[in-house]
């Protein structure tokens, strides 16, 4: 009778049931990647995370909000608790979206850890995995470690001193230890260098999977910001790894706008690693579905953006973004993609009114041929999001050179920047003759606005907090006021600081 109490769910399976073949290990790796694309494997109404609305619990939506809303590039009209705090740089440690981002990043790390735990040599031999596939599984393990390193980079960049778990941590209710930002930098760097040789050579992996190009691109970004993370700059290394990417054979897409369309997974030699979405098979209310729907209001005609039933009218630009273009109509610099009507203004007197501030048209679900991709319900988007693309690496190279890094040249830096301008102008008419660090920050805004890099860039320039540079509604003031420097790092979520007694809150919060 006692045995009667041993019941298992008839539908579910254990690790030993699942990992029976190399193909199963590939599915395990897919779960590692899928963790930053979907809110849950159960579809858009579910979430892997608790304490946050399912639709706002995916990685990109939260990452995008944290990188864009508190900057001069974007502002959101929605009044959901926590959004105005990001708009105005007045967030507290109880901000739900920051909690969500932190939790999502660590969730993906936990999943990567689980995959690593289930793919050790001992487990592989115990499960009789054929020796021909061991090489492949070694690649998978390197990729899982890359994804984990990427998320630790996100946590280091955003939260500084997050909890730290690896495949050796136990699953249960044990409080993870905290890691300091400088130690985490060392960890991420060591991991990325360690897996370099196990990864597939650059541009040779399947679409959506990390290879050496992704590894170098993240190293390039990591070293460019090393001064922020550790106090010691590493511009030489930034140049070294940027060059490795540039020399690997990536090339700029001819048409800038096609990078942000529903078929950007095709014929794309500029993107180094993407998060992949699909209106039918990979649905969620975050990701590019969020970026595109929040960019479009019903008055703008959602059909023209490939979202016939969507258009949530939330995000639009603050004036520094359209003003960074000498001509913001898009007639000369084609990267200026704004929705301008006779009543449009760049000025925002009421942040909750979507029609104040130029709306954008950069992101769309329409394909390069103007078709609307298949989508259940007409809201979910198929546009993929580039986590790394060549243009960023050009700019990383240029900035590291201008900041005094060795191993590159000013003329090469200028040439790379002018490649971007030539594509934007369709000719050499917009080319720079020389370039300063300030020019470069503006150029990065024009090239990469709304691609979730702005906060990191402003911090590196020392302009994110303080009063040396203000923008409309910074600090909650219509014309902008200074903010305290402790806001260069986000707070650890209050919830976790009270739950995990190993954590010490970041200074200032």
């Amino acid at each position: 009778c006692k045995k009667d109490l041993n019941l298992t769910q008839l539908n579910s399976v254990t690790a030993d049931n699942i990992y029976t073949s190399a193909a199963a290990y590939k599915e395990g790796l897919v779960k590692v990647y899928a963790s930053y694309a979907v809110t849950s494997s159960q579809g858009p109404a579910s979430s892997d995370l608790g304490g946050i609305d399912a639709g706002t619990s995916d990685f990109l939506r939260l990452y995008w909000m944290a990188q864009e809303l508190p900057t001069d590039e974007a502002i959101c009209s929605w009044q959901d608790v926590g959004i105005p705090d990001l708009n105005y740089s007045t967030w507290t440690s109880s901000n739900t979206f920051l909690l969500g981002l932190y939790t999502r990043s660590i969730y993906q790390i936990t999943i990567a850890n689980e995959f690593l735990k289930e793919s050790t040599d001992d487990k592989l031999s115990a499960r009789n995995i054929s020796s021909d596939s061991l090489g492949l599984i070694k690649q998978y393990r390197a990729e899982a470690r890359f994804i984990r390193a990427y998320q630790y980079w996100v946590l280091m960049d955003m939260f500084g001193n997050p909890p730290f778990v690896t495949e050796y941590s136990t699953i249960g209710t044990t409080n993870p230890p905290q890691i300091k930002r400088a130690d985490l930098f060392k960890y991420v760097e060591t991991e990325l260098l360690d897996i370099e040789d196990s990864l597939v050579t650059a541009r040779d992996n399947e679409y959506g999977r990390a290879d050496q190009g992704a590894d170098w691109a993240l190293l390039s970004r990591l070293y460019l910001n090393a001064g922020v993370y550790t106090g010691t700059t590493k511009y030489d290394s930034a140049i070294l790894y940027s060059s490795k990417v540039i020399d690997a054979g990536y090339s700029l897409n001819t048409t800038y706008a096609n990078l942000f369309k529903g078929d950007n997974n095709l014929n794309n030699n500029e993107e180094i690693l993407t998060i992949n979405y699909d209106g039918v098979n990979t649905q969620n209310y975050g990701g590019t579905t969020y970026i595109i729907n929040a960019e479009v209001s019903s008055a703008m005609g959602p059909t023209k953006f490939g979202i016939p039933t969507g258009g949530w009218g939330g995000n639009r630009s603050r004036s520094p973004l359209p003003n960074s273009f000498t001509d913001n109509t898009g007639a000369t610099d084609t990267r200026a993609m704004f929705y301008i009507t006779s009543s449009s203004t760049t000025t925002i007197t009421d942040p909750s009114t979507f029609t104040q501030g130029y709306a954008l048209t950069k992101w769309t679900n329409l394909t390069s041929t103007g078709a609307t991709p298949a989508s259940i319900g007409g809201t979910y988007c198929s546009t993929d999001f580039p986590l790394f693309r060549l243009a960023e690496v050009y700019l990383n190279y240029a900035e590291a050179v201008l900041r005094g890094g060795a191993g590159g040249s000013t003329s090469q830096a200028l040439a790379y920047v002018n490649l971007l301008r030539q594509r934007a102008y369709g000719s050499t008419s917009g080319n720079f003759g020389s370039i300063t660090l300030t020019d470069l920050l503006s150029e990065k805004m024009r090239e990469m606005y709304w691609e979730a890099t702005r906060r990191t860039d402003l911090i590196r320039y020392g302009m994110f907090t303080g009063s040396s540079y203000v923008w409309p509604w910074k600090g909650g003031n219509a014309s902008g006021i200074g903010t305290s420097s402790y806001r260069d790092i986000y707070p650890l979520p209050l919830n976790d600081v009270t739950t995990n007694t190993n954590l010490t809150q970041n200074t200032g919060y």
Partner: protein, 965 residues
């Protein structure tokens, strides 16, 4: 001379002999007294035949008979509350006077009358410490039942229901509004509510929230009694949400709107709430027969047909139910057999309740119909290019009419109970009870292809099928022995319970039933759990004065890992029947009962809804959650969060009780005071991020304290030949506080209470030192005229910045005290009865106002439509929603008359059938409501205290006929 005449006097209630009865023979002016066997003798005398004989005993009705020849028996009916009444307790019965625990019994004569579709509504307002809130006005809607306020956070707070000894499954049943609605209230004889640990601990790990024992009606000896009843009623909304009219909206927009906005205005004056509600007719018809077949087979059979319509148009529930009870005895009454079989078929049409909030919000200046509109000819918000405005609200009437959602459930509950009084040892009973509770339900929902509600997918078609198979086996021995002044009553038993739920997972399609929208990973989901239990109870009574009672139960549950699987739940109770003491003799003239009860015990809780939370398992992905690698989409497995350390939640309850009876129990008073300390509280709460596969996990996380006072007073105010008047009053005081959560940090809290509006906004907290679900809000600042100032909140932490650090804990939905009042007045053949209920100190968040009453909603630039608001917008004139203002947390104390009924009993209507009896009664339910709460109803649709989308509880006018012969 002939022998003397011998008479014997019994208590009509329990046939016990009555001693000390004064027997008066006026003809001889002589008095006799009955002895301890109830006997008296009248010396033989020719003259007394045909003379009157009068009987009188304190506490009993007087009686007069005419003397015949020979010996005879007389039955006297007790006055007031009968303490010898037998009450069902767990695994046995007890006389009321011997009860050691806190137990309240409500029997059929005290049930609420009128349209009562579901059993728990019979006893709403009738017992102290039992809060019953009807969840909505939906046909067959369930109620939230809380005994002593609820002891848990994430585990269920519902009491355990036990029908004829068979514990019912908790949780919902697919395709019916409420699982209890499958049981016909007319088949119920009594409810026994077990409240303290001494009464409940024998139900162990499922007893923390109290136990409700339901006893159904049984067969009777004697000639068959037929009963036919019919209740026909009309229901209508008692109140509608006070929204702006079309004219008010036009004035408002013309004053504040811009040109684009004014252009959206229509010319109609539509009251959308009137468009979706109706006066609904319901009929409930029941037939029963109870009697003997062949003298040895007592039987009761009943059949019922309920057809209840909701005030929301198209809403309907029909229930056909039958019940059979056979209760024969064999082998010289040594073997008692009790067979209960109940079956019901419930068919529902579920109206789309989304129309309720839509009717509040939809623009009153627009007409209901627009013949040119492609979405079924209803007015909808359209873009200039002929497409529908995707985020705008949908026409409420279209929401109602453009979908068909039907469900049906067949449920059967039954048990066979054998009680064998051992031949060679009659003090020993062997009792075996085997029960089942099985349900098959299925449903189909179709949203039409041209419905605006599902415009993006050309409709939606889905179906569902659920199978519930639950079995119970109970076997126990009971032993009852008098040993001189002592009495021993012992029970020991074994229980085995198995629950299984099978749910078919079907594809969802567009309305054409071919285009697949989603398809499931698994065709079937199966959830199973089991419990294995041993239990024992010993009641030792000495000299009828001192009663010691102890129980213990050991439960094993499949929900926990083997190391934590078993739990022990002991209790002890001590009762002193002080009234039996010699020194009480002088007080007995007016004091008829004095009893003190003291109990202490441990109960548990394990129902967290999930059966496998301790196991490390994986689950497959859905078709919508795949991921693209290369050119292919992959499905994959995900690990479940799990907690192998999960264990029982434990509640330790101390109860002090006092039972008083005055004037032969014409007035009875019961008072209880209790402390309940729950530890290892089961909560779905945040765990350290990174420690598991989710940041929320079911874990044993804290402690909670419940404290309260209960008072029940019943009085037979008048009992005369033509007039009787009874009054019953109950009062309960509650205090529930979370005393620890997760770790020892006193500031720790968990955000709960999702509200409508925005994304992921939550208004409440579980916080240490506060009642669960305390509101977490900003303190509103008001101007000189008393108007709330938009966005102006008190800087409570005085740091010069208004941010979330200034939010505070303000009030809770839990009532501080509740009152119930019932009275029954009879004059000749007339009966007038009423039930009044009051809650004091409960607060509610008006999410209707907070969500709709702002300019951003009325003039919604995102959706490009006009939305309605309540008239309070004209007062606040808020520009953007102020969800977190304490302005929206209102005192929701109330007094409600639940029930008022007037009946007339026609006797002697048939010469042929002298016993035929017809009762006609009229009942009004939800008669009136007194409250300062400004919204629709101060009782929200759950215990959570958030008022939104409430299906109004109707006012019901019912006419009932009851024919008995």
């Amino acid at each position: 001379q002939k022998d003397s005449i011998v008479g014997k006097i019994y208590n009509s209630k329990d046939s016990s002999a009555l001693s000390g009865v004064t027997v008066r023979l006026p003809a001889l002016n002589e008095d006799f007294t009955s002895d301890e066997n109830g006997q008296f003798k009248i010396p033989a005398n020719q003259n007394i035949a045909g003379k009157k004989l009068q009987f009188a005993l304190v506490g009993f009705t007087n009686k007069e008979i005419t003397l015949g020849a020979g010996d005879f028996s007389v039955y006297l009916a007790p006055l007031g509350a009968d303490l010898n009444e037998v009450v069902v307790i767990g695994y046995g019965t007890s006389k009321k006077k011997d009860l050691t625990g806190s137990v309240t019994t409500i029997s059929a004569k005290d049930f609420n009358k009128g349209l009562v579709a579901t059993p728990e509504q019979l006893i709403q307002g009738k017992a102290a410490g039992v809060q019953i809130t009807l969840n909505s006005g939906q046909p067959g809607a369930g109620s939230t039942v809380r005994i002593r306020g609820g002891a848990s956070l994430s585990a269920t707070n519902d009491p355990l229901y036990v029908i004829d000894g068979v514990p019912m499954t908790t949780g919902s049943i697919g395709n019916v509004a409420n699982p209890l609605a499958t049981i016909n209230p007319n088949d119920i004889e009594t409810f026994t509510v077990l409240k303290d640990a001494n009464a409940t601990a024998i139900y162990g790990s499922r007893a923390s929230n109290g136990v409700i024992l339901i006893t159904t009606k049984k067969g009777k000896s004697g000639k068959p009694v037929y009963n036919f009843s019919s209740t026909n009623s009309l229901s209508k909304a008692a109140k509608l949400v006070d929204v702006m009219s079309g004219d008010q909206m036009r004035d408002y927009i013309n004053e504040y709107g811009d040109d684009a906005h004014k252009a959206l205005l229509g010319t109609a004056n539509t009251n959308w709430q009137k468009e979706i509600y109706r006066t609904a007719f319901s009929t409930d018809n029941n037939f029963s027969v109870a009697g003997n077949i062949h003298k040895w087979l007592p039987i009761r059979f009943s059949a019922g047909y309920l057809n209840q319509s909701g005030i929301l148009k198209r809403d309907n529930m029909q229930r056909i139910s039958t019940a059979l009870n056979l209760s024969p005895k064999f082998f010289d009454n040594h073997l008692s057999v009790n067979l209960n079989l109940k079956g019901s078929l419930t068919k529902s049409f579920f109206a789309n309740q989304g129309a309720i909030a839509a009717a509040i919000q939809f623009d009153p200046t627009q007409p209901v119909y627009d013949k040119t509109n492609p979405y079924g000819g209803y007015f909808e918000w359209m873009n200039a290019d002929g497409t529908i405005k995707s985020l705008a609200g949908r026409n409420p009437v279209s929401l109602l009419n453009m979908q068909n959602n039907t469900g049906q459930a067949v449920r059967s509950i039954g048990n066979l109970q054998l009680d064998y009084k051992v031949h060679f040892l009659p003090d020993l009973h062997v009792n075996v009870n085997a029960g089942y509770d099985i349900t098959r339900s299925n449903g189909k929902k179709l949203i039409f292809a041209d419905a605006s509600e599902a415009f993006s997918t050309d409709g939606n078609s889905s179906r569902s099928r659920n199978v519930y198979d639950n079995y119970t086996l109970e076997a126990f021995l009971s032993y009852n022995k008098d040993l001189g002044k002592s009495n021993i009553n012992a029970v020991a038993g074994y229980g085995y319970y198995t629950f299984s739920t099978k749910t078919n997972n079907y594809n969802t399609y567009e309305a054409d039933d071919t285009t697949i929208l989603t398809h499931p990973t698994y065709p079937l989901s199966i959830d199973q759990n089991r419990m294995l239990s041993y239990y024992a109870r010993l009641i030792y009574t000495y000299d009828n004065k001192y009663i010691l009672s102890g129980t213990v139960r050991r439960d094993g549950s499949s929900r926990f890992a083997p190391d934590n699987r078993y739990g022990y739940f002991p209790s002890v109770g001590l009762t002193w029947r002080a009234i039996e003491e010699n020194f009480m003799e002088p007080a007995k003239k007016w004091l008829s009962d004095l009893k003190l009860r003291l109990s202490y015990g441990l109960t548990g809780q394990q129902d967290i809804g999930s059966s496998y939370s301790y196991q490390n398992t994986y689950y497959g992905s859905q078709s919508t959650g795949e991921y693209q690698i290369g050119d292919s989409y992959y499905s994959y497995y995900s690990p479940n969060a799990y907690n192998k350390n999960l264990k029982w939640e434990k509640s330790l309850t101390t109860n002090i009780g006092l039972d008083l009876g005055f004037l032969n129990n014409l007035i009875t008073v019961t008072a209880d005071y209790y402390w309940k300390n729950t530890s290892d509280l089961l909560g779905n709460i945040p765990v350290s991020v990174g420690s598991n596969f989710s940041n929320y996990l079911y874990a044993n996380v804290g402690k909670m304290k419940n404290q309260g006072l209960e008072l029940n007073i019943s009085a037979d105010v008048i009992r005369k030949r033509d007039i009787n008047w009874t009054v019953s009053f109950n009062y309960s005081k509650y205090n529930t506080t979370i005393s620890q959560l997760n770790n020892n940090d006193p500031s720790y809290s968990v955000t709960v209470g999702s509200i409508a509006g925005g994304t992921g906004n939550m208004i409440q907290r579980w916080a240490v030192g506060y009642t669960p679900y305390v509101f977490n809000v900003y303190q509103q600042v008001y101007d000189k005229s008393g108007k709330p100032v938009e966005g102006a909140y008190v800087d409570r932490n005085k740091d010069g910045v208004i941010n979330s650090n200034d939010m505070y804990y303000y009030k809770s939905p839990q009532a501080k005290s509740t009152f119930g009042f019932s009275t029954n007045f009879g004059y000749k053949n007339w009966t007038l009865a009423t039930t009044i209920r009051a809650n004091v100190g409960n607060y509610m968040y008006d999410n209707v106002r907070s969500n709709f009453d702002n300019w951003a909603n009325v003039n919604n630039t995102t959706t490009d439509a006009i939305n309605n608001a309540t008239v309070d917008l004209l007062n606040t004139n808020f520009h953007t929603p102020q969800y977190f203002s304490d302005y929206y947390v209102y005192n929701a104390s109330f007094i409600r008359m639940d029930n008022l009924s007037l009946g007339y009993n026609f006797q002697d209507i048939s010469k042929k059938h002298p016993d035929m009896n017809l009762t006609v009664s009229g009942t009004v339910q939800n008669v009136f409501l007194i409250t300062h709460y400004p919204g629709l109803d101060p009782e929200s649709n759950s215990s959570a205290g958030i008022d939104y989308n409430l299906y109004p509880r109707p006012r019901v006018y019912a006419l009932s006929l009851n024919l008995k012969f």
